[in-house]
Amino acid sequence: MIEAKNISKVFSTKRGTTHVIDNVSFTVKRNEFVVLFGPGQCGKTTLINLLSGLDTPTSGTVMVNDKQVLRPGPERGVVFQAMALFPWLTVRENVAYGLKARGFAKSYWMERSSYYIDLVGLSGFEDAFINKLSGGMKQRVGIARAYCNEPEVLFMDEPFSALDAQTRYLMQEEVMRIWSKEKRTVVFVTNNIEEAVYLADRIILLTNTPAKIKQEYPITLSRPRDYTSFEFLALRDEISKNMDSTL
């Protein structure tokens, strides 16, 4: 479904060149939930931007559904850490934005947006402006908006890092619930090991900058997972130990 072939990313600034991603290759199968995990500032966001098309690799190619990715597009939905919602639109208008922009009929996007607003648990808030919503609610809108646009793949870049701890646990459960109802291929970035083990079918552990793949961990625990189970904790320890320390 997704194929990253030897991608590298180099940033050139006045102060010199920085190699952020170094020759990374991996694949993601259809409907797989893959988590990119690594120490802080290692290049995870850059990597996911390369996959979604928000950025282009300096070398190598990214293929989604056997088509090369060159720019962002509706087939590759993104949920941002900074949420990036449109403050002048209501919740419904935000969620339906993609469908409206692409020219679908009003009846269609009304029905679709209602479905996804309900799916993320925000029924009743369709006509609210987003400056009235809490952080967790805003991120739900972000997820609904990405889903509503009917993408083939969902990319989530540390979507819960800006939320408080309790909301974060709640959102992790929500994501699992939504994903089990509406299966998609998901690539999820986080720097929180419990979040990674809780959510992933497979964890791709990255090294420090320049990021390379250190190891891949298939997670076969059945869902819903228990943060405190023996297997969960064992995996968490194993991956943590293997992780590079943050620079």
Binding site: P74, F80, A84, P87, Y97, G98
Partner: protein, 256 residues
């Protein structure tokens, strides 16, 4: 000291100011030329019934507004359109920037003489000046607005499948609205000041005329009445603008 309601302070301070004024006049030599507050207020209220020159205060105010409002609207519309286009499309910016930067540093007031040469002493010259007074700041702020759009929101639009034009209409324009309103406020204040100045230099009615004609008769009371009229109308215009902005920009996340 117990806290009084906020309007009470305003009343007290304005009242004290008026008392201070009245007392100062009474006990000093200025009273030969300068009127006390009571005279000015009475004179102001009377001016709505008894004409100053050929018109009552109401008519004078209407003349001034008639000069300001149409030209301000046209100037602002042109300014918003040009400014947003310049802020978003680099070629448009490249083409119009030099001329704009040529006009910008010259205050509208400095255009008065040449405007009279070009348009005569009638309404046309005043409309031209008000147009400039509105156009310049509105354009500047609109450019700023279009340029300041969060690039992440643009990327978001692309990700969701919007075309460049749709992004312009649905993201750049709404995002710029608060900036545009900043410009509209500055433009309004400038337009009002410009019409007063223009009327002081060349006109036969209007609030600015009230002030300048008072110089011919050395009637300080009249000049203060004029100042009151100018201040009150300017104040009301600013409030109308602010209310409009609050209504249209209810969605902005105001910084605490």
């Amino acid at each position: 000291m117990k806290r009084l309601p906020s309007w009470a302070y305003g009343v007290i301070s304005i009242f004290s100011f008026l008392v201070f004024w009245a007392v100062g006049i009474y006990f000093s030599e200025i009273k030969i030329v300068m009127p006390g507050p009571w005279q000015v207020i009475i004179g102001f209220l009377r001016s709505f019934i008894r004409p100053i020159g050929r018109h009552t205060m109401t008519v004078h105010i209407l003349y001034s507004l008639m000069r300001v409002v149409p030209a301000y609207i046209v100037g602002s519309l042109v300014g918003v359109t040009l400014g947003i286009l310049m802020g978003w499309y680099a070629p448009v910016n490249a083409f119009f920037r030099p001329i704009y930067e040529l006009i910008r540093p010259i205050p509208p007031i400095a255009w008065i003489p040449i405007s009279i040469v070009w348009f005569g002493i009638g309404e046309g010259s005043k409309w031209f000046l008000i147009f400039l007074a509105a156009f310049v700041p509105v354009t500047l702020n609109s450019i700023s607005g279009a340029k300041s759009v969060d690039p992440l929101l643009i990327k978001c639009g692309e990700m969701l499948g919007a075309s460049k034009n749709y992004i312009f209409r649905s993201i750049v324009l709404p995002f710029s609205v608060p900036y545009i309103f900043s410009g509209l406020q500055v433009g309004l204040a400038g337009a009002w000041a410009t019409v007063v100045a223009a009327e002081m230099i060349r006109s036969s009615e209007g609030v600015g005329w009230i002030i300048i004609s008072s110089m011919d008769t050395n009637d300080v009371t009249q000049s203060l009445i004029g100042i009151m009229g100018i201040g009150i109308v300017g104040f009301l215009l600013a409030i109308i603008m602010r209310k409009t902005e609050d209504y249209l920009c209810a969605w902005t996340i105001r910084e605490g």
